[in-house]
């Protein structure tokens, strides 16, 4: 942009975890910045900030995406689910319960992204094989090397060990 030119603000309408928001953002704003900095939903983590680590994974119109690699304005009118939207009130989502039971995290930084990738996987394929689970979390790095327990936790949910009325 040329010197002295101000970036105009654009209106963004977005539904996050069932709540409608309307805000004004600069075009360069990323979806992760809207989620964390504008809406204060800091469960979504900003890790590598370059599309490699998957910590910022959210579900956008039903698809897992890396929110550090999506322009917020491209999510105008869209529906976003973040980790804060998984639990129903104080009742944890089956995946969250399974992650707790299986010790599927150590430092926890990758956990919200893992949960969202796992949710997107199970929404598309409710009974994945172990290989399919591994493919489903392929784009999420865990640096505490907790992959085995994460796969076991997701498998337990897929096997119906964490039933609830509405997943």
């Amino acid at each position: 942009m040329k010197e002295g030119t101000m970036a105009e603000m654009h209106r963004l309408k977005i539904r996050v975890n069932g709540e409608d928001y309307e805000l004004y953002v600069k075009p360069k704003t990323l979806l992760v910045e809207v989620i964390r900095d504008h809406l204060g939903l800091t469960g979504t983590k900003r890790g590598c900030n370059s599309g490699a680590c998957g910590a910022c994974t959210v579900i956008l119109n039903g698809m897992a995406v890396k929110s550090c690699s999506v322009l917020a304005l491209q999510a105008d009118g869209a529906e976003v689910l973040t980790v804060e939207g998984l639990a129903k009130g104080s009742e944890l989502h089956p995946l969250q319960k399974a992650f707790l039971d299986h010790g599927a995290y150590q430092c926890g930084f990758c956990t919200s992204g893992m949960l969202m990738s796992a949710k997107a996987l199970l929404d598309e394929n409710p009974s994945p094989t172990k290989e399919e689970i591994k493919e489903g979390i392929h784009g999420n790095l865990c640096r505490c090397t907790g992959y085995n327990s994460i796969v076991r936790a997701i498998a337990a949910v897929a096997e119906g060990k964490y039933e609830e009325a509405e997943r």
């Binding site: 942009m1 040329k2 030119t5 101000m6 970036a7 105009e8 654009h10 600069k26 075009p27 360069k28 990323l30 900030n49 370059s50 599309g51 490699a52 998957g54 994974t57 956008l60 698809m63 897992a64 995406v65 890396k66 690699s69 999506v70 322009l71 304005l73 491209q74 990738s117 997107a120 493919e135 489903g136 392929h138 784009g139 999420n140």
Partner: protein, 289 residues
């Protein structure tokens, strides 16, 4: 930190092309942005205008018919990966897409964006070149078509003019007795490939190679057809020494660089091995169907 830009959101392709004409030289087109946003964050690309075509549904399609296959530029990698029609008629395309980056990237990233980004290590270009793909480039006042292999000029440089947009990829029908195989070498699954090799072989009725394409990724400033390797294959039967020779030729004629991921020598060795391996696989596939 991404530099500020003006955001333009055309309603349709025609309006997008008009914007490109009006802001030629100052504008970049964004679709999924899975590559572009990284370059913008690094400050390597800082356009004054960003024209967003992600929402242009008119460019999102996969249309196979008797004349071949047409793919719209805003079609996502995930759509190509999951397409049942492609799995049946061009199975190498979903097979390649399955290992492209991560699910998240494939959900948002698009085929047109990937090709226009022109990273020589990108996965789709070598496979599409092996299939003989063409690209359609549109301007406000007309379109032109060119072979995909001529589209790439240098690292991250394409034949696209400043006011031009890649709108469609077309792939001819696959002849009978043709096999295609693709493999890339990565350190971990989601990484960019260090080197890839795609081989397409079409056999004659006697089982000899009537036509062959060997296309390398990450081994030159652009996706590279290893024509020396192709030449040694034509008219020949499958045998171990032929595989060896084709691999050796490809390894000699590629122009890889050394970087943090791999040395030039390592890349040449990968080219030799992968070419050989993909040649065997493609040949077996051709013999089966």
């Amino acid at each position: 930190m991404i530099k500020d830009f003006r955001y333009l959101r055309p309603q349709d392709l025609q309006e997008a092309l008009g914007m490109l004409t009006e802001h030629a030289g100052e504008a970049k087109v964004i679709c999924g942005g899975q590559s572009l946003l990284i370059l913008m964050r690094q400050g390597l690309v800082a356009p004054e205008y960003l024209i967003d075509i992600k929402h242009l549904e008119e460019l999102s399609y996969i249309r196979p018919n008797e004349d071949g296959l047409r793919i719209g530029a805003t079609t996502t990698h995930r759509a190509l990966e999951k397409s049942k029609e492609l799995a049946e008629r061009y199975p190498i395309i979903p097979e390649m897409e399955e290992t492209l980056a991560s699910i998240q990237t494939r959900n948002w990233g698009t085929i047109g964006g990937n090709l226009s980004h022109a990273d020589p290590a990108g996965d789709p270009a070598p496979v599409l070149i092996a299939l003989g793909a063409k690209v359609k480039l549109a301007k406000a006042d007309g379109t032109r078509e060119m072979a995909l292999e001529d589209f790439f000029l240098d690292y991250f440089e394409t034949a696209l003019e400043e006011d031009e947009l890649l709108v469609e990829i077309s792939v001819p029908p696959v002849p009978a007795r043709t096999g295609v195989a693709f493999e890339k070498f990565t350190i971990i699954g989601c990484d960019m490939g260090i080197v890839s090799a795609t081989v397409r072989v079409t056999l004659d009725e006697g089982g000899r190679a009537a036509e062959a394409r060997v296309v390398l990724g990450g081994a030159a400033p652009t996706p590279l057809r290893a024509k020396g390797a192709e030449e040694v294959l034509v008219g020949e039967d499958l045998r171990e020494e032929l595989l060896e020779e084709a691999g050796r030729k490809a390894s000699e004629e590629c122009e890889p660089i050394s970087d943090i991921h791999a040395s030039e020598g390592y890349r040449r060795e990968l080219v030799r091995v992968l070419t050989k391996r993909m040649l065997r696989k493609a040949w077996q596939r051709a013999a089966q169907g």
